[in-house]
Symmetry: C2
Subunit: 346 residues, 2 copies
DNA sequence: GTGAAAGCGCTAACAG
DNA sequence: CTGTTAGCGCTTTCAC
């Protein structure tokens, strides 16, 4: 079945149009300098034969692949429990599609995978890489640097080390956290607690910093470490209630954590937001809308993050390829703004 | 920056090992017939030079790409709101990685995208395709058939048309639905309602069929159409409460729908499960665990689905390539079992 | 068993 | 402007 009919080559098209391969190549690649009557003949031949260029042959000579790798390093599987991942991919995909680039997805789980990925990248199959979910001391950046591949990171990488040139796209975690806490303050709350995320991720650290920016001399007992999961949120909330029964607000590092906290508050008979106001982070749907009460939270534009990462990378590739002078300078990181979404919990 | 050091070629390795390119090629590709002393020399040279084969050059001659496309057609963006997608990808990724294949991700949104994807597939960049989320009358299968690419579908495709040879992997939606309803029956419920999913997807149709298998002559008013969303669930639940105030159980086509139904039930003062028992479908975390009360639901092994799809496809490719006789026959579809997960809602 | 040579399909100088 | 001519890096007969 599925008998593989040999696809037509440039040669075939050239023969049919009565021109040389070079001419067909020119037309196909949109390079000007082919007179209309000829060009038209070629286009018809292409159409009639259903010709599609062989990417392998093309890459072999151009050293371009029009493909970029998206690497998601998530040993903890957490990413897969939430819809983030899909959103970012969508943003990336849209941007790449627009520029006729392919998306090669590389998912890693353990150390072995990192070696494999490093090998793959070193193999020069892709023109660049987009990297996600780095945790502290992840070996991946090192491998990528070594492969010498243009790269853009999703989320601020931790290792400040690097040769200065790290480009990343991130949400304004710190600013968003500040907004959340100020909102709580504006509601007249004063005993505001914070349940952090997993502190081996910069997003968690940045949100904590934002909290501290506003609550300069907060009671240290009002900060307890969570891990971005509902279970972590529950545990932390109990701890908080135990330590500081008088708290009147909670800023959770993400919506999942907030959902856990909400449950514990209800269990303890605290009314939300009357007794305790709660603010989350992410605006992760459908979680944020499904909680009881619906969650006030800080929204980040995930899809836009993805799109921007791709755009930055492609721009860099163009510069590199065109060698058109260093016009435009090296690309730099981007921090996307967040928005406070008011629902019922605060 | 990032000065592109030309990577070593087969030629270089051959020179270094003092053998011919052909010999290096043999060693690299694990083809036997190279004597140990030589093979070892070659391996060392490869190691020292950090040689990695150029895939483009290889594909050019082998016509193999060791890459498969994963196509997610989801005009409605629904997929992106849930964690399914990521899970399936993970399963696929694992399997492909094991067999040294790359995953090229193609996301489509509208008609234009379909054309683009069709073109890409026809371009012979990948060896096969894995296709998801088909809705009725989706033009994609047609395009893929035309491209003559080995394909495995995720979820039972609707169009029974096709040349008989459609291979797909799906959960036992119908059987799972039967289990759910029987469970409700076992609880002593008799006025069991069903909120369907979007009926332009086979999974929704199959679940409805399962419901009917058990509730052979159910009151037709007990079935109302939903759309797999929480909002749809809310609307449907209100409708049901209005039509049949005496219902004592609800089987929702998925967890999101169930979450919406739960909210409306609470709003109407119906206690769950005491007054009305509720069962969902998917075991979509963290939704199912977060609802109030936690949801009894039918779990499907999403990741396994992905893994299986990839396995089926790769097997097919091997057969096709090896041309080793038609041993093993054409691959056939697989239906994965589901499991009822008991929590508090029923 | 190992090497030599012939392309795979395409682009990019270079002529004309 | 258009055609001719080299390869890109690799696998694969085919001799030795």
């Amino acid at each position: 079945m599925t008998e593989t009919v040999p696809r037509p080559t440039l040669e075939a098209v050239a023969a049919r149009a009565g021109v040389s391969r070079a001419t067909v190549s020119r037309v196909v690649n949109g390079s000007d300098g082919v007179r209309e009557p000829l060009a038209e003949r070629v286009r018809r031949a292409v159409e009639e034969l259903g010709y599609v260029p062989n990417q392998a042959a093309r890459s072999l000579v151009t050293k371009r692949h029009d493909a970029i790798a998206v690497i998601v390093a998530e040993p903890e599987t957490r990413v897969f429990a939430d819809p983030f991942f899909a959103r970012q991919l969508r943003g990336i995909s849209k941007e790449l599609t627009t520029h006729d680039n392919q998306l090669v997805l590389l998912l890693t789980e353990d150390r072995d995978d990192h070696v494999r990925v490093g090998h793959y990248l070193a193999g020069g199959h892709v023109d660049g890489a987009l990297v996600f979910s780095l945790h502290i001391d992840d070996p991946l950046p090192e491998l990528i640097q070594r492969a010498g591949l243009p790269t853009v990171f999703g989320g601020r990488p931790d290792w400040s080390g690097g040769r200065g040139g790290v480009v990343y796209v991130d949400s304004d975690n710190r600013g968003g956290a500040r907004d959340a806490v100020r909102h709580l303050l504006g509601l007249g709350r004063s005993r505001i607690a914070h349940i952090t995320g997993a502190l081996d991720q910069t997003s968690a650290v940045d949100r904590l910093d934002g909290f501290r920016d506003v609550m300069v001399d907060a009671d240290p007992r009002l900060v307890v470490e969570g891990d971005f999961t509902p279970a972590g949120g529950e545990w932390a909330m109990r701890e908080l209630l135990d330590r500081c029964p008088d708290l009147d607000a909670v800023f959770a590092a993400n919506d999942l954590t907030a959902a856990g906290a909400l449950r514990v508050l209800r269990e303890h008979g605290r009314r939300v937001p009357d007794d305790v106001a709660v603010v989350g982070f992410d605006d992760m749907l459908p979680i944020a809308e499904q909680t009881e009460p619906p969650l006030t939270t800080v929204r980040q534009d995930i899809e836009e993050m993805g799109r921007l990462m791709a755009r930055l990378l492609l721009r860099d590739l163009d510069r590199t390829t065109a060698a058109d002078e260093n016009v435009g300078g090296t690309p730099s990181s981007v921090i996307l703004p967040t928005t406070l979404i008011r629902r019922a919990s605060a």
